[in-house]
Symmetry: C2
Subunit: 214 residues, 2 copies
Protein backbone atom coordinates (compact mmCIF):
# COMPACT_ATOMS: atom_id res chain seq x y z
CA UNK A 1 0.00 0.00 0.00
CA UNK A 2 1.37 3.32 -1.03
CA UNK A 3 1.23 6.13 1.47
CA UNK A 4 -0.57 9.04 -0.10
CA UNK A 5 0.63 12.58 -0.48
CA UNK A 6 -0.88 15.22 1.76
CA UNK A 7 -3.16 17.63 -0.07
CA UNK A 8 -3.32 21.28 0.84
CA UNK A 9 -5.80 23.76 -0.53
CA UNK A 10 -4.48 27.28 -1.13
CA UNK A 11 -6.93 30.02 -1.89
CA UNK A 12 -6.58 33.24 -3.83
CA UNK A 13 -9.21 35.36 -2.08
CA UNK A 14 -10.39 38.33 -4.11
CA UNK A 15 -12.43 41.31 -2.99
CA UNK A 16 -13.32 44.47 -4.89
CA UNK A 17 -12.80 47.61 -2.84
CA UNK A 18 -14.84 50.47 -4.35
CA UNK A 19 -12.89 53.07 -2.33
CA UNK A 20 -9.47 51.85 -3.42
CA UNK A 21 -11.03 51.29 -6.87
CA UNK A 22 -9.12 48.02 -7.18
CA UNK A 23 -9.34 44.27 -6.67
CA UNK A 24 -7.55 43.20 -3.48
CA UNK A 25 -6.04 39.84 -2.52
CA UNK A 26 -6.41 38.61 1.06
CA UNK A 27 -3.35 37.05 2.69
CA UNK A 28 -2.60 36.22 6.32
CA UNK A 29 0.40 36.17 8.62
CA UNK A 30 1.33 32.60 9.42
CA UNK A 31 0.88 31.71 13.09
CA UNK A 32 2.93 28.50 13.00
CA UNK A 33 6.13 27.15 11.60
CA UNK A 34 7.22 26.86 8.93
CA UNK A 35 7.39 30.48 7.79
CA UNK A 36 5.83 31.74 11.06
CA UNK A 37 5.36 35.51 10.89
CA UNK A 38 5.50 35.61 7.10
CA UNK A 39 2.59 36.30 4.82
CA UNK A 40 0.96 33.46 2.91
CA UNK A 41 -2.17 32.58 1.02
CA UNK A 42 -4.87 31.16 3.30
CA UNK A 43 -4.58 27.39 3.07
CA UNK A 44 -5.64 24.27 4.93
CA UNK A 45 -4.98 20.57 4.66
CA UNK A 46 -7.82 18.82 2.88
CA UNK A 47 -9.65 16.53 5.29
CA UNK A 48 -10.59 12.99 4.35
CA UNK A 49 -13.76 13.12 2.29
CA UNK A 50 -13.92 16.90 2.44
CA UNK A 51 -15.18 18.76 -0.62
CA UNK A 52 -12.84 21.32 -2.14
CA UNK A 53 -15.53 23.94 -1.72
CA UNK A 54 -15.79 23.26 2.01
CA UNK A 55 -12.04 23.35 2.44
CA UNK A 56 -11.97 26.67 0.63
CA UNK A 57 -14.46 28.31 2.98
CA UNK A 58 -12.66 26.72 5.94
CA UNK A 59 -9.43 28.38 4.81
CA UNK A 60 -11.12 31.73 4.27
CA UNK A 61 -12.92 31.73 7.59
CA UNK A 62 -10.12 30.19 9.64
CA UNK A 63 -7.12 32.01 8.24
CA UNK A 64 -8.61 35.38 7.28
CA UNK A 65 -11.27 35.63 9.98
CA UNK A 66 -14.11 36.23 7.54
CA UNK A 67 -17.64 34.98 8.09
CA UNK A 68 -18.74 31.94 6.10
CA UNK A 69 -21.56 33.97 4.58
CA UNK A 70 -19.17 36.47 3.06
CA UNK A 71 -17.83 33.90 0.57
CA UNK A 72 -19.79 34.58 -2.60
CA UNK A 73 -18.26 32.10 -5.05
CA UNK A 74 -15.39 29.63 -5.39
CA UNK A 75 -13.71 27.59 -8.10
CA UNK A 76 -10.62 25.69 -9.22
CA UNK A 77 -7.47 27.11 -10.72
CA UNK A 78 -4.62 24.58 -10.98
CA UNK A 79 -2.61 21.98 -9.08
CA UNK A 80 1.02 22.44 -7.99
CA UNK A 81 3.06 19.31 -7.33
CA UNK A 82 6.62 20.51 -6.73
CA UNK A 83 7.70 18.07 -3.97
CA UNK A 84 9.97 20.59 -2.22
CA UNK A 85 7.35 23.31 -1.99
CA UNK A 86 6.74 22.62 1.73
CA UNK A 87 9.77 22.05 4.00
CA UNK A 88 7.71 19.65 6.16
CA UNK A 89 7.55 17.20 3.28
CA UNK A 90 5.92 16.68 -0.07
CA UNK A 91 2.43 18.12 -0.34
CA UNK A 92 0.20 18.63 -3.30
CA UNK A 93 -1.32 22.08 -3.50
CA UNK A 94 -4.64 22.68 -5.19
CA UNK A 95 -5.03 26.37 -5.96
CA UNK A 96 -8.56 27.75 -5.86
CA UNK A 97 -10.17 31.15 -6.07
CA UNK A 98 -12.80 32.62 -3.77
CA UNK A 99 -14.63 35.91 -4.01
CA UNK A 100 -15.78 37.60 -0.81
CA UNK A 101 -17.85 40.59 0.14
CA UNK A 102 -16.81 43.82 1.72
CA UNK A 103 -16.52 42.63 5.37
CA UNK A 104 -12.81 42.75 5.98
CA UNK A 105 -12.02 40.07 8.59
CA UNK A 106 -9.64 40.47 11.52
CA UNK A 107 -6.68 38.44 10.32
CA UNK A 108 -6.62 39.46 6.69
CA UNK A 109 -4.01 41.68 5.08
CA UNK A 110 -5.32 43.10 1.83
CA UNK A 111 -3.06 44.14 -1.01
CA UNK A 112 -3.68 45.14 -4.60
CA UNK A 113 -3.51 42.32 -7.10
CA UNK A 114 -0.76 44.14 -8.99
CA UNK A 115 1.35 44.57 -5.82
CA UNK A 116 1.13 41.35 -3.83
CA UNK A 117 3.97 41.23 -1.26
CA UNK A 118 6.44 38.35 -1.09
CA UNK A 119 4.73 35.24 0.25
CA UNK A 120 5.83 32.04 1.96
CA UNK A 121 6.15 28.59 0.32
CA UNK A 122 5.75 28.77 -3.45
CA UNK A 123 2.81 31.12 -3.13
CA UNK A 124 4.47 33.84 -5.22
CA UNK A 125 4.58 31.38 -8.05
CA UNK A 126 0.99 30.29 -7.50
CA UNK A 127 -0.20 33.89 -7.67
CA UNK A 128 1.91 34.60 -10.73
CA UNK A 129 0.74 31.48 -12.57
CA UNK A 130 -2.91 32.00 -11.69
CA UNK A 131 -3.22 35.69 -12.54
CA UNK A 132 -3.85 35.12 -16.24
CA UNK A 133 -6.38 32.42 -15.38
CA UNK A 134 -8.25 34.88 -13.17
CA UNK A 135 -8.17 37.62 -15.80
CA UNK A 136 -9.62 35.16 -18.28
CA UNK A 137 -12.62 34.45 -16.05
CA UNK A 138 -13.85 38.02 -15.93
CA UNK A 139 -17.06 38.46 -18.01
CA UNK A 140 -16.76 34.81 -19.11
CA UNK A 141 -17.27 32.94 -15.81
CA UNK A 142 -20.55 34.36 -14.53
CA UNK A 143 -20.33 33.14 -10.89
CA UNK A 144 -16.80 34.55 -10.65
CA UNK A 145 -17.79 37.92 -12.06
CA UNK A 146 -20.98 38.16 -10.03
CA UNK A 147 -19.15 37.11 -6.88
CA UNK A 148 -16.54 39.78 -7.38
CA UNK A 149 -18.81 42.67 -8.30
CA UNK A 150 -21.85 41.80 -6.21
CA UNK A 151 -25.52 41.77 -7.23
CA UNK A 152 -25.40 45.29 -8.66
CA UNK A 153 -22.62 47.64 -9.65
CA UNK A 154 -21.81 50.64 -11.79
CA UNK A 155 -19.97 50.95 -15.08
CA UNK A 156 -17.22 52.82 -13.22
CA UNK A 157 -16.70 49.85 -10.89
CA UNK A 158 -16.67 47.45 -13.82
CA UNK A 159 -13.92 49.55 -15.39
CA UNK A 160 -11.89 49.42 -12.18
CA UNK A 161 -12.24 45.66 -11.83
CA UNK A 162 -11.28 45.08 -15.44
CA UNK A 163 -8.22 47.28 -15.07
CA UNK A 164 -7.18 45.45 -11.90
CA UNK A 165 -7.42 42.01 -13.49
CA UNK A 166 -6.24 42.57 -17.03
CA UNK A 167 -3.83 45.46 -16.54
CA UNK A 168 -5.41 47.98 -18.83
CA UNK A 169 -8.55 50.08 -18.72
CA UNK A 170 -11.02 49.58 -21.55
CA UNK A 171 -13.07 52.35 -23.11
CA UNK A 172 -16.38 52.63 -21.23
CA UNK A 173 -18.31 52.27 -24.48
CA UNK A 174 -16.60 49.01 -25.42
CA UNK A 175 -16.91 47.55 -21.91
CA UNK A 176 -20.63 48.30 -22.02
CA UNK A 177 -20.97 46.25 -25.19
CA UNK A 178 -18.96 43.42 -23.61
CA UNK A 179 -21.30 43.43 -20.62
CA UNK A 180 -24.36 43.43 -22.87
CA UNK A 181 -23.25 40.03 -24.09
CA UNK A 182 -22.78 38.53 -20.58
CA UNK A 183 -25.71 36.18 -19.95
CA UNK A 184 -27.87 37.28 -17.03
CA UNK A 185 -26.45 40.77 -16.83
CA UNK A 186 -28.43 43.83 -17.84
CA UNK A 187 -28.52 47.61 -17.66
CA UNK A 188 -30.99 49.34 -15.36
CA UNK A 189 -32.42 52.81 -15.72
CA UNK A 190 -30.81 53.92 -12.46
CA UNK A 191 -27.77 56.13 -12.20
CA UNK A 192 -25.34 56.05 -9.29
CA UNK A 193 -23.74 59.10 -7.68
CA UNK A 194 -20.82 60.60 -9.57
CA UNK A 195 -17.28 60.53 -8.22
CA UNK A 196 -16.20 63.43 -5.94
CA UNK A 197 -14.23 64.88 -8.83
CA UNK A 198 -17.37 65.17 -10.91
CA UNK A 199 -18.15 63.55 -14.19
CA UNK A 200 -21.28 61.95 -15.50
CA UNK A 201 -22.99 59.51 -13.09
CA UNK A 202 -22.46 55.93 -14.26
CA UNK A 203 -25.19 53.44 -15.08
CA UNK A 204 -26.17 50.69 -12.63
CA UNK A 205 -25.99 47.09 -13.86
CA UNK A 206 -27.83 44.15 -12.30
CA UNK A 207 -27.84 40.39 -12.55
CA UNK A 208 -31.10 38.71 -13.37
CA UNK A 209 -32.47 36.50 -10.60
CA UNK A 210 -31.61 33.27 -12.48
CA UNK A 211 -27.96 34.26 -12.92
CA UNK A 212 -27.47 34.93 -9.21
CA UNK A 213 -28.81 31.51 -8.30
CA UNK A 214 -26.48 29.65 -10.68
Amino acid sequence: MIESTLVSVDVIVLRFDPDARAVLVGVATRAQEPFAGELALPGVLLGRGERLRDATTRAVTGKLGLAEKSVTATGQLATFDEPSRDPRGPTLSIALWATVTRSTGDLAVWSRLDAVPALAFDHDRIVADCRPLLADKLWRDVPFTAGLLGPEFTTAQALDVTESLTGDRPYPANLGRTMDRVPGLGRTSEHAAALPKGGRPPLVWKWSSEAVRA
Copy 2:
Protein backbone atom coordinates in the same frame (compact mmCIF):
# COMPACT_ATOMS: atom_id res chain seq x y z
CA MET B 1 -4.11 16.16 12.91
CA ILE B 2 -6.49 15.66 10.05
CA GLU B 3 -6.21 12.46 8.06
CA SER B 4 -5.74 13.36 4.45
CA THR B 5 -7.80 12.25 1.50
CA LEU B 6 -6.34 9.71 -0.89
CA VAL B 7 -5.41 11.12 -4.26
CA SER B 8 -5.83 9.16 -7.45
CA VAL B 9 -4.61 10.19 -10.86
CA ASP B 10 -6.84 9.29 -13.79
CA VAL B 11 -5.47 9.70 -17.26
CA ILE B 12 -7.18 10.34 -20.57
CA VAL B 13 -4.71 8.70 -22.94
CA LEU B 14 -4.97 9.88 -26.53
CA ARG B 15 -3.45 8.39 -29.65
CA PHE B 16 -3.96 9.32 -33.26
CA ASP B 17 -4.49 6.33 -35.49
CA PRO B 18 -3.78 7.27 -39.11
CA ASP B 19 -5.50 4.14 -40.39
CA ALA B 20 -8.70 4.69 -38.46
CA ARG B 21 -8.26 8.40 -39.27
CA ALA B 22 -9.37 9.26 -35.73
CA VAL B 23 -8.13 10.07 -32.23
CA LEU B 24 -8.50 7.07 -29.93
CA VAL B 25 -8.79 6.89 -26.14
CA GLY B 26 -7.02 4.11 -24.27
CA VAL B 27 -8.91 2.39 -21.46
CA ALA B 28 -8.25 -0.85 -19.61
CA THR B 29 -10.23 -3.66 -18.06
CA ARG B 30 -10.00 -3.48 -14.28
CA ALA B 31 -8.18 -6.44 -12.75
CA GLN B 32 -9.32 -5.83 -9.18
CA GLU B 33 -12.39 -4.84 -7.23
CA PRO B 34 -14.19 -2.55 -7.25
CA PHE B 35 -15.56 -2.76 -10.78
CA ALA B 36 -13.38 -5.78 -11.67
CA GLY B 37 -13.86 -6.70 -15.32
CA GLU B 38 -15.27 -3.32 -16.26
CA LEU B 39 -13.51 -0.74 -18.38
CA ALA B 40 -11.95 2.32 -16.74
CA LEU B 41 -9.48 5.09 -17.40
CA PRO B 42 -5.94 4.09 -16.41
CA GLY B 43 -5.40 5.46 -12.92
CA VAL B 44 -3.09 5.00 -9.95
CA LEU B 45 -2.90 6.28 -6.41
CA LEU B 46 -0.47 9.15 -6.15
CA GLY B 47 2.54 8.12 -4.08
CA ARG B 48 3.93 10.35 -1.37
CA GLY B 49 6.13 12.95 -3.01
CA GLU B 50 5.44 11.63 -6.47
CA ARG B 51 5.15 14.13 -9.31
CA LEU B 52 1.92 14.15 -11.27
CA ARG B 53 3.89 13.57 -14.41
CA ASP B 54 5.49 10.43 -12.99
CA ALA B 55 2.18 9.09 -11.75
CA THR B 56 0.75 9.67 -15.21
CA THR B 57 3.41 7.60 -16.95
CA ARG B 58 3.08 4.98 -14.22
CA ALA B 59 -0.63 4.70 -14.97
CA VAL B 60 -0.04 4.51 -18.70
CA THR B 61 2.69 1.90 -18.50
CA GLY B 62 1.14 -0.15 -15.69
CA LYS B 63 -2.49 -0.16 -16.73
CA LEU B 64 -2.23 -0.02 -20.52
CA GLY B 65 1.02 -1.92 -20.98
CA LEU B 66 2.70 0.80 -23.01
CA ALA B 67 6.42 1.55 -22.87
CA GLU B 68 7.48 4.60 -20.90
CA LYS B 69 9.10 6.01 -24.03
CA SER B 70 5.84 6.04 -25.92
CA VAL B 71 4.41 8.80 -23.73
CA THR B 72 5.03 11.98 -25.71
CA ALA B 73 3.41 14.64 -23.53
CA THR B 74 1.25 15.05 -20.45
CA GLY B 75 -0.68 17.80 -18.70
CA GLN B 76 -3.42 18.68 -16.23
CA LEU B 77 -7.13 18.85 -16.89
CA ALA B 78 -9.24 19.24 -13.70
CA THR B 79 -9.86 17.85 -10.24
CA PHE B 80 -12.93 15.85 -9.22
CA ASP B 81 -13.86 15.77 -5.55
CA GLU B 82 -17.20 13.98 -5.34
CA PRO B 83 -16.74 11.96 -2.11
CA SER B 84 -18.83 9.00 -3.26
CA ARG B 85 -17.01 8.54 -6.55
CA ASP B 86 -15.08 5.51 -5.22
CA PRO B 87 -16.98 2.88 -3.18
CA ARG B 88 -13.83 2.19 -1.14
CA GLY B 89 -14.02 5.63 0.38
CA PRO B 90 -13.49 9.27 -0.46
CA THR B 91 -10.75 9.88 -2.98
CA LEU B 92 -9.77 12.96 -4.87
CA SER B 93 -9.26 12.40 -8.58
CA ILE B 94 -6.91 14.54 -10.60
CA ALA B 95 -7.67 14.15 -14.28
CA LEU B 96 -4.72 14.46 -16.65
CA TRP B 97 -4.12 13.93 -20.33
CA ALA B 98 -1.32 12.00 -21.98
CA THR B 99 -0.49 11.61 -25.64
CA VAL B 100 1.20 8.41 -26.79
CA THR B 101 2.70 7.06 -29.96
CA ARG B 102 1.51 4.33 -32.23
CA SER B 103 2.69 1.30 -30.18
CA THR B 104 -0.54 -0.19 -28.97
CA GLY B 105 0.17 -1.87 -25.60
CA ASP B 106 -1.12 -5.29 -24.53
CA LEU B 107 -3.74 -4.24 -22.00
CA ALA B 108 -5.21 -1.25 -23.77
CA VAL B 109 -8.63 -1.13 -25.36
CA TRP B 110 -8.81 1.73 -27.86
CA SER B 111 -12.04 3.43 -28.77
CA ARG B 112 -12.87 6.53 -30.75
CA LEU B 113 -13.18 9.68 -28.68
CA ASP B 114 -16.73 10.16 -29.93
CA ALA B 115 -17.74 6.62 -28.90
CA VAL B 116 -16.14 5.89 -25.54
CA PRO B 117 -17.88 2.90 -23.91
CA ALA B 118 -19.42 3.07 -20.42
CA LEU B 119 -16.68 3.25 -17.80
CA ALA B 120 -16.39 2.46 -14.09
CA PHE B 121 -16.39 4.99 -11.24
CA ASP B 122 -17.31 8.50 -12.42
CA HIS B 123 -15.07 8.14 -15.44
CA ASP B 124 -17.89 8.77 -17.89
CA ARG B 125 -18.35 12.13 -16.28
CA ILE B 126 -14.61 12.84 -16.30
CA VAL B 127 -14.42 12.12 -20.02
CA ALA B 128 -17.52 14.20 -20.73
CA ASP B 129 -16.30 17.17 -18.69
CA CYS B 130 -12.78 17.08 -20.11
CA ARG B 131 -13.65 16.72 -23.80
CA PRO B 132 -14.13 20.46 -24.36
CA LEU B 133 -10.90 21.13 -22.48
CA LEU B 134 -9.04 18.76 -24.81
CA ALA B 135 -10.62 20.27 -27.92
CA ASP B 136 -9.53 23.68 -26.72
CA LYS B 137 -5.89 22.60 -26.49
CA LEU B 138 -5.54 21.63 -30.13
CA TRP B 139 -3.40 24.19 -32.03
CA ARG B 140 -3.16 26.27 -28.85
CA ASP B 141 -1.18 24.00 -26.53
CA VAL B 142 1.90 23.17 -28.57
CA PRO B 143 3.17 20.16 -26.52
CA PHE B 144 -0.31 18.63 -26.65
CA THR B 145 -0.65 19.11 -30.38
CA ALA B 146 2.87 17.93 -31.14
CA GLY B 147 2.46 14.94 -28.83
CA LEU B 148 -0.72 13.90 -30.59
CA LEU B 149 0.40 14.38 -34.18
CA GLY B 150 4.07 13.50 -33.84
CA PRO B 151 7.09 15.33 -35.25
CA GLU B 152 5.72 15.51 -38.76
CA PHE B 153 2.30 14.95 -40.25
CA THR B 154 0.17 15.76 -43.26
CA THR B 155 -2.67 18.19 -43.73
CA ALA B 156 -5.02 15.23 -44.15
CA GLN B 157 -4.04 13.92 -40.71
CA ALA B 158 -4.46 17.36 -39.18
CA LEU B 159 -7.98 17.45 -40.61
CA ASP B 160 -8.77 14.05 -39.09
CA VAL B 161 -7.47 15.04 -35.66
CA THR B 162 -9.40 18.30 -35.66
CA GLU B 163 -12.58 16.51 -36.64
CA SER B 164 -12.08 13.94 -33.86
CA LEU B 165 -11.58 16.55 -31.17
CA THR B 166 -13.95 19.33 -32.15
CA GLY B 167 -16.65 17.34 -33.91
CA ASP B 168 -16.52 19.02 -37.28
CA ARG B 169 -14.12 19.00 -40.15
CA PRO B 170 -12.64 22.35 -41.16
CA TYR B 171 -11.94 23.41 -44.70
CA PRO B 172 -8.35 22.41 -45.58
CA ALA B 173 -7.57 25.98 -46.60
CA ASN B 174 -8.69 27.43 -43.28
CA LEU B 175 -6.90 24.78 -41.24
CA GLY B 176 -3.71 25.55 -43.14
CA ARG B 177 -3.96 29.20 -42.10
CA THR B 178 -4.64 28.16 -38.50
CA MET B 179 -1.52 26.01 -38.53
CA ASP B 180 0.54 28.83 -40.04
CA ARG B 181 -0.10 30.75 -36.84
CA VAL B 182 0.98 27.90 -34.50
CA PRO B 183 4.42 28.81 -33.15
CA GLY B 184 7.11 26.33 -34.15
CA LEU B 185 5.04 24.68 -36.86
CA GLY B 186 5.81 25.12 -40.53
CA ARG B 187 5.09 23.78 -43.99
CA THR B 188 7.70 21.73 -45.82
CA SER B 189 8.09 21.32 -49.54
CA GLU B 190 7.41 17.59 -49.29
CA HIS B 191 4.21 15.89 -50.29
CA ALA B 192 2.99 12.65 -48.80
CA ALA B 193 1.38 9.81 -50.71
CA ALA B 194 -2.25 10.30 -51.61
CA LEU B 195 -5.01 8.20 -50.13
CA PRO B 196 -5.90 4.92 -51.90
CA LYS B 197 -8.99 6.61 -53.29
CA GLY B 198 -6.87 9.19 -55.01
CA GLY B 199 -6.87 12.92 -54.57
CA ARG B 200 -4.10 15.43 -54.34
CA PRO B 201 -1.18 14.39 -52.08
CA PRO B 202 -1.28 16.47 -48.88
CA LEU B 203 1.52 18.72 -47.67
CA VAL B 204 3.85 17.60 -44.89
CA TRP B 205 4.14 19.84 -41.80
CA LYS B 206 7.02 19.79 -39.35
CA TRP B 207 7.81 21.22 -35.93
CA SER B 208 10.94 23.30 -35.64
CA SER B 209 13.61 21.84 -33.39
CA GLU B 210 12.95 24.38 -30.61
CA ALA B 211 9.25 23.58 -30.46
CA VAL B 212 9.85 19.85 -30.07
CA ARG B 213 12.19 20.42 -27.15
CA ALA B 214 9.66 22.60 -25.24
